[in-house]
């Protein structure tokens, strides 16, 4: 896949929820293409469906209708088991609240996605070491999450997201719990991963400053996308 080939194609995508007797439409007949190497910030007001969209892209939720294609293959109709395998092979996830396992060290947290591969113990260790060094956490490999600051935990979470070399990183408010300086450091790390390692990044954020680090800004409002041009 070259840098401009479509990684994701969303076709006529709709998502509706039923609350009691009422059906709530989050978005309807949505079409979008995300190319390999993109760094997209998805913005929009609360309830606009940003996170729902990210869930659909990450194979965590299913659309009410329409198709989600990843590298030309539909993922919205895969079984739960196949979706889990698809996520392990193709997607890295970064959460607002880091979601590291409190009982595991930084290195063990980063190793988690590699337990789903056939790599040997030594190969896994090498990969973990490299991933932690990329995010500047090589010296903290033996620390537990409780011994790390919020920014450090998010760096470990990023290392966990990239360690299995996924094609796409899906980040939901990755700087939402961090101060400005730390947030900028994290966003620069994401920029680096996009620019140097060619990772496609889709980031949901409320923060215009965070969004400004992305190549594209998509505003989701009333079920429609509006793209803001970037220099």
């Amino acid at each position: 896949m070259n840098a401009t080939s479509p990684l994701y194609e969303l076709k006529d995508l709709s998502k509706r929820y039923t609350r009691g007797k009422e059906t709530v439409t989050i978005f309807d007949a949505l079409d979008m293409t995300i190319n390999t190497g993109d760094f997209i910030a998805i913005m929009g007001p609360s309830g606009s469906g940003k996170t729902t969209l990210l869930n659909l892209l990450g194979g965590i939720d299913r659309p009410s209708s329409g198709e989600v294609l990843f590298e030309g293959q539909r993922i919205d109709n895969l079984s739960q088991g196949k979706l889990a395998k698809w996520r392990a092979a193709n997607a890295g996830f970064i959460f607002q609240f880091y979601n590291l396992m409190p009982t595991l060290t930084a290195a063990q947290n980063v190793e988690l996605p590699l337990l789903l591969t056939s790599l040997s113990g030594k190969a896994r260790k090498d990969r973990v070491k490299t991933a932690l060094e990329i995010v500047g956490m090589g010296e903290r490999a033996r620390h537990r999450p409780g011994q790390l600051s919020g920014g450090q935990q998010q760096r470990v979470a990023i290392a966990r997201a990239i360690v299995a070399d996924p094609k796409v990183l899906l980040a939901d408010e990755p700087t939402g719990d961090l101060d400005r300086t730390t947030a900028d450091e994290i966003l620069e790390t994401l920029q680096l991963l996009n620019a140097e390692m060619g990772k496609t990044i889709i980031m949901v954020t409320h923060d215009p400053a965070a969004a400004s680090h992305a190549k594209r800004e998509l505003h989701l409002n009333k079920g429609r996308f509006e793209e803001k041009g970037k220099a």
Partner: protein, 385 residues
């Protein structure tokens, strides 16, 4: 790191809770082990009973004596091979707490009736021929450190001699063992004649009469014949198989098997509820982490297995420690209880049954939380990814 590391880390993430759960399971298996050891001791008499042996006692109960004359009369019943009368001596050695299970027997007939008792030939003859001789079971001899040739005073807490003494001087002429380890050797036999001739009261009577028959298939008929022989007499008899007699003897203490089943059942039901509830709560606390694992690509069946292994690991840690402590405690207690309960101890059957209980406990307490973990919906558990 592998899945086992995650299982172990999750189990011990809250150490106090894990330790308390382990202790509660440990206690259940300790109770199981100790009661199992007790049940083994109580069931030994029935397991070691011979098919061709009957026991005749007074119809009122076995503490009421039978006349001496019954010995000869029972011998006349068709199909009877050996008649071996015995009396309860109620002995102790030096101090009343040093209980010695002891019977006054006719040595020749008793040894003939109990061929599972193994004697050295010279010691057997010495016991039969020596009026003040006693034969001591191996377990009892070991308990008190007795050996052949020693003279010991054996006190009775029931009987008194004509001179007012309650002590019978006995020479240990034989130490006997059993042929295959199924018959207790925790008792002492002394000569009935030596015992009887010196009694102040209760002379010329027995408490039970062991009978061997020519053909075990005739046991019912022989039992009936014996009891009919003494029907309407001042001392009517009740004749049963040795196994039935031993079982009835044990039932004086209550239905041991049923009591043990209820106690063990209650202990395990309590543990099931405690561990099951705690496991459900512990896994509920980790819903978010489980959702993260699923997001990373861990499949639902894999998460189900990990939670189930967690419950099994907990069950095995508590269970094996509890069973080990029970084995040690039973070993320690068996020496002290040798006089009363010679077979107090755990068997391999107990151990294998306990392991089956551990598996069952782990599966039962693990299935619900594992099922809940498997069904965690990522988007609901995380609120958002």
């Amino acid at each position: 790191m592998n899945d086992a590391t995650l299982v172990r880390k999750n189990l011990f993430r809250k150490r106090l809770r894990a330790v308390l759960l382990t202790i509660s399971i440990l206690i259940a298996f300790l109770i199981y082990g100790m009661l199992g050891a007790m049940q083994n001791a109580f069931s030994m008499g029935t397991e070691g009973a011979a098919q061709d042996r009957l026991v005749t006692v007074n119809r009122i109960n076995f503490t009421v004596a039978l006349p001496y004359a019954y010995w000869d009369r029972i011998q006349q019943v068709e199909g009877v091979r050996t008649v071996a009368p015995a009396s309860w001596f109620g002995g102790y050695y030096q101090e009343p707490q040093n209980f010695v299970q002891s019977f006054a027997v006719d040595p020749e007939t008793y040894i003939e009736a109990y061929p599972e008792l193994v004697f050295q030939e010279d010691q057997r003859l010495a016991f039969i021929e020596g009026r003040t001789c006693a034969a001591v079971g191996q377990a009892l001899a070991t308990q008190y450190g007795w050996s052949v040739g020693e003279r010991i005073p054996l006190m009775s807490n029931i009987w008194q001699q004509q001179d007012g003494s309650q002590a019978w001087e006995l020479d240990i002429c034989a130490i006997f063992d059993d042929a295959d380890g199924t018959y207790p050797t925790n008792y002492l036999m002394l000569h009935y004649e030596y015992f009887n001739e010196s009694l102040l009261f209760g002379r010329d009577s027995f408490h039970w009469i062991a009978i061997t028959t020519e053909d075990p298939s005739q046991n019912d008929r022989i039992s009936r014949d014996i009891d009919e022989l003494f029907a309407n007499s001042p001392a009517e008899t009740s004749t049963t198989t040795e196994a039935a007699f031993n079982a009835a003897f044990m039932e004086q203490f209550g239905n041991i098997g049923l009591i043990l089943t209820w106690v063990i059942g209650a202990a395990f039901a309590t543990i099931l509820m405690i561990v099951g509830t705690t496991m459900v709560m512990a896994v509920n606390e980790r819903t978010r982490e489980i959702a993260v694992l699923k997001t990373l690509g861990f499949t639902a069946p894999r998460i189900f297995r990990m939670v189930l292994w967690e419950a099994l690991l907990l069950s095995f840690i508590g269970g094996l420690i509890g069973l080990g402590l029970a084995a040690l405690a039973a070993q320690g207690a068996s020496a002290a209880l040798a006089g009363f309960l010679p077979s107090f101890g755990l068997t391999w059957t107990n151990a294998l049954t306990a392991i089956a209980f551990m598996v069952a406990l782990g599966l039962i307490t693990g299935v619900l939380p594992a099922w809940n973990a498997m069904r965690v919906r990522i988007s609901e558990a995380l609120g958002k990814i």
